[in-house]
């Protein structure tokens, strides 16, 4: 299962690499500066607004590239996943809160019927 260009906010970009267009690829060739695909998928799960997806993924790709060139790809990848984990935190809190709410509701329902 691959990522569609539309998932990453790249509609209309000519498809050379499966994730980015030719101009961006030529800039990044030899630098190993592509953000991790799994990391981008994680962000797509936790981000709600389409516009925000494009802006945030673009910001992260830019900083990932800078860090990869300065400190190496491994450092940049760890940084990227840390960003994904930290950004997912409010989302996970919401799930935990609603999960608890639904669990309590279900428990009350079972006790009263």
């Amino acid at each position: 299962m691959g990522i569609e260009l539309s998932d990453l906010g790249l509609e209309g970009v000519q498809k050379v690499d499966s994730r980015i267009g030719p101009d961006a690829q030529s800039c990044l060739v030899g630098t190993d500066a592509f953000p991790p695909v799994a990391g981008e998928k994680l962000f797509l799960l936790i981000l709600s607004r389409e516009e925000r997806k494009t802006n945030i993924l673009g910001d992260l790709a830019e900083e990932y590239s800078e860090l990869a060139q300065k400190f190496g790809r491994r450092f940049a990848t760890i940084w990227y996943y840390k960003q994904a984990a930290a950004s997912a935190s409010p989302f996970l809190h919401k799930i935990a809160k609603w999960g608890l709410f639904l669990s309590v509701g279900e428990l009350v329902r079972r006790l009263t019927h």
Binding site: L8, A24, N55, I56, D59
Partner: protein, 107 residues
């Protein structure tokens, strides 16, 4: 009845000051890096955008989409600037901050 003054939360104020500092270069990555440098701790991009969205909804910030760039894999930047309403809120915070020590000293 006079309109109540609006105040900013601590993180909101820091984000807005970062935007004022960056000037025309205020977009997500640079805002995050500036806030992180100022606070000397790791700040997530999600926290920055949540705050930016909230400030924009309150009318303290305005944003617009910039051009896509190669460094961003063909994705556009979103730039931010502080509005007049936002500047008034910043001023309210600053006024309160200076007033409190005077109240304490007057006791």
């Amino acid at each position: 009845m006079a309109k109540q003054k609006e105040y900013l939360g601590q993180f909101e104020e820091i984000v807005m000051l970062a935007i004022l500092h960056l000037g025309s270069n205020s977009y997500g990555t640079r805002i995050r890096q500036t806030v992180e440098e100022a606070l000397e701790k790791s700040i997530s991009i999600g926290a920055i955008y949540t705050t930016l969205d909230r400030l924009e909804q309150k009318g303290y910030l305005a944003s617009w989409q910039g051009d896509a760039t190669q460094e961003r894999g063909g994705r556009a930047k979103r730039y931010f600037e502080v509005t007049g309403t936002g500047q008034r809120a910043l001023k309210n915070n600053d006024t309160a901050r200076h007033k409190l020590p005077e109240l304490i000293m007057a006791q």
